[in-house]
Amino acid sequence: MDFGPYLMLAIMEGALTAAVLALTASGLALVFGVMRVVNVAHGEFFMLGAVLAWWVTQLAGGSPVLGFLLALCVVPVLVGMLAAFVDMTILKRINYDPERTIVATIGILYILQQVTLMTYGPEARPVAPPFNARIALPWIDMSDGTLRLYWPWGLSITSYKLFVIGAACVVLLGLWALMTKTKLGLLMRATEQDREMALAFGIPVQRIYAIAFGLGAGMAALAAVLIVPIQQAHYLMGGDPLLLSFIVVIIGGLGSLPGAILAALLIGLSDGIISIFFSPTLAKIFATLFVAFVLVFRPKGLWGTGKP
């Protein structure tokens, strides 16, 4: 395969990574924006989404389409409810103190991870994709001064991957509409801007916190349900999404949703392209150091409009 089609393939895979990452990271950004706390257990809600998706498709039995649809509807709601419960029972008690919240969410991380290990087990399990047609992609070849369209071998994407990218766009648009067009979004933005003032105006801040925490975890679970037919469900799968979401949220400016989505695109695409040229470990070293340096020298993120 020539370099051009190869790059095209990397961009396609990168777009898939970016789509899933944008969903996961916007959940983390939402929680950080509205509640001003860092949820270290975010990756475990992602993992829980994938594991529950496997469980629901097993319950649904034969048809992969039915099972997948069921998982897509049920799993994010379940995980969101669990997260809201965690918020009401634990985070509320420690009064959202930033440092104690980090300690508590590290604890929740281990609890979720280890309970999954005890019940679901250490195996990685696949979920059958609802549809998986291979779509070959054309490439333009320029030789002897004439343009020619041809289908290079190996340059293809599955219909399911295209669906994931599309679905992520739809969900993100939905989130944007929720935040800007609805009453709930208005209340969340009010709480984000000034907690005390929101409280003074009679906004049930406590309930808004629970909803925001649930919604953030639900976004992560949704991303996991979408990716689990491509990547298998495993009890340790939460680490990478957590790290990448952190990177995205920090680079996009802490708590800013549009910034997070832009950064997810940047990271996802560059991840796909960089990992062609460098070893994945080296790429990760650069990525983590990059985040550290962004925080040190540009604490408001690369497009710093977010509040510190």
């Binding site: 980090i102 590290i106 929740i108 604490p299």
Partner: protein, 315 residues
């Protein structure tokens, strides 16, 4: 009636004496455990200086422990240095690394400080994996018995292992006690309690924090180097996020900002995990539950509660 300051010294001296006497009574299994506990408790003491006394929560201390571990481990396995030199190299590695990371991370504060330290530690962990040719990655490498001899005494022998661990713990504890009772330590506590006010009083807050990071990182590296020399195993798991979380857990459990707290937390956690790993493979569940309970119910930890209720003079 003794003065509070004297009581404090006697209490800590008593603990050291007890630990020294303990080796003659303990059965072999717990004898080995206590040696490990004292080394890791020294690591926690290093962590406590930064977190408990200065109020800086680092989520990346594993990189300093690993710097000592790999610094001395590689000095022996790759370059064939003697144990004494390897120990110095390990501590120096931690010292330099903590100066660099400290200088960078101190430009941030609060949550950003935690994430920056976490990211540096993660980069360190990945670097260990990347140079798998020398470090052998997750699998790690073993230092031969013959290489672990200091002044003619084999460090792999039970008694000398306990005694070396005890010496390390003595050094760390006495250093920590002397430090927090000194002028310098009082300034650190002032920074923890009210940073703006300390700055207003004319103290160079950033300089104090910087010195504490170097001190804390060097003690952690000393513990790491000793761990490699006593137990002869060097592996990437010691550089992972877990080993940054553990000292936080031990210190919180035992009581942040108390000299003896790290040891208490370490003993408690070690035996809790030791007992539960006999029952289930998911023993980290215990750590998770303890963390949540600590955050919610006892942010002061065991010795912190003891100090606020009974022995008010404890430092």
């Amino acid at each position: 009636m003794m003065s509070d300051s004297k009581k404090d010294c006697f209490a800590h001296g008593g603990v050291l004496l007890f630990l020294f006497a303990l080796q003659f009574f303990l059965p072999a299994y717990h004898h080995g455990n206590m040696a490990r506990i004292m080394v890791l408790a020294s690591y926690a003491i290093g962590y406590n200086l930064l977190f408990g006394y200065t109020g800086l929560l680092s989520l990346g201390h594993a990189i300093f422990f690993a710097a000592g571990l790999y610094g001395s481990g590689l000095a022996i396995s790759q370059f064939g240095f003697s144990v004494g030199v390897a120990l110095v190299i390990g501590v120096a590695a931690g010292c330099v690394l903590s100066a660099v990371i400290g200088a960078l991370a101190l430009r941030t504060e609060g949550v950003a400080f935690m994430i920056v330290t976490l990211m540096f530690a993660q980069a360190g962990y990945l670097t260990v994996l990347y140079f798998g040719e020398f470090t052998r990655g997750d699998e790690g490498f073993v230092l031969a018995h013959a290489d672990r001899v200091l002044w003619g005494v084999s460090l792999s022998d039970q008694t000398s292992k306990y005694f070396s661990a005890f010496s390390l713990f003595c050094v760390s504890l006495i250093m920590c006690l002397a430090l927090v009772r000194s002028r310098f330590g009082k300034v650190l506590i002032a920074i923890r309690e009210n940073e703006e006010r300390t700055q207003m009083l004319g103290y160079n807050v950033v300089w104090y924090k910087f010195c504490t990071i170097i001190l804390s990182g060097s003690i952690s590296a000393l513990a790491g180097a000793t761990y490699a020399l006593l137990f002869g195993y060097v592996g990437a798991s010691f550089a992972s996020v877990e080993y940054s979380i553990y000292p936080l857990l031990w210190v919180l459990l035992g009581g942040a900002g108390t000299v003896i707290g790290p040891l208490v937390g370490m003993i408690f956690m070690f035996y809790l995990i030791d007992l539960s790993s006999g029952v289930t493979t998911a023993y980290m569940l215990v750590a998770g539950v303890v963390l949540v309970f600590l955050a919610v119910f006892a942010p002061q930890g065991v010795m912190g509660e003891v100090r606020s209720r009974i022995w008010k003079w404890l430092s």
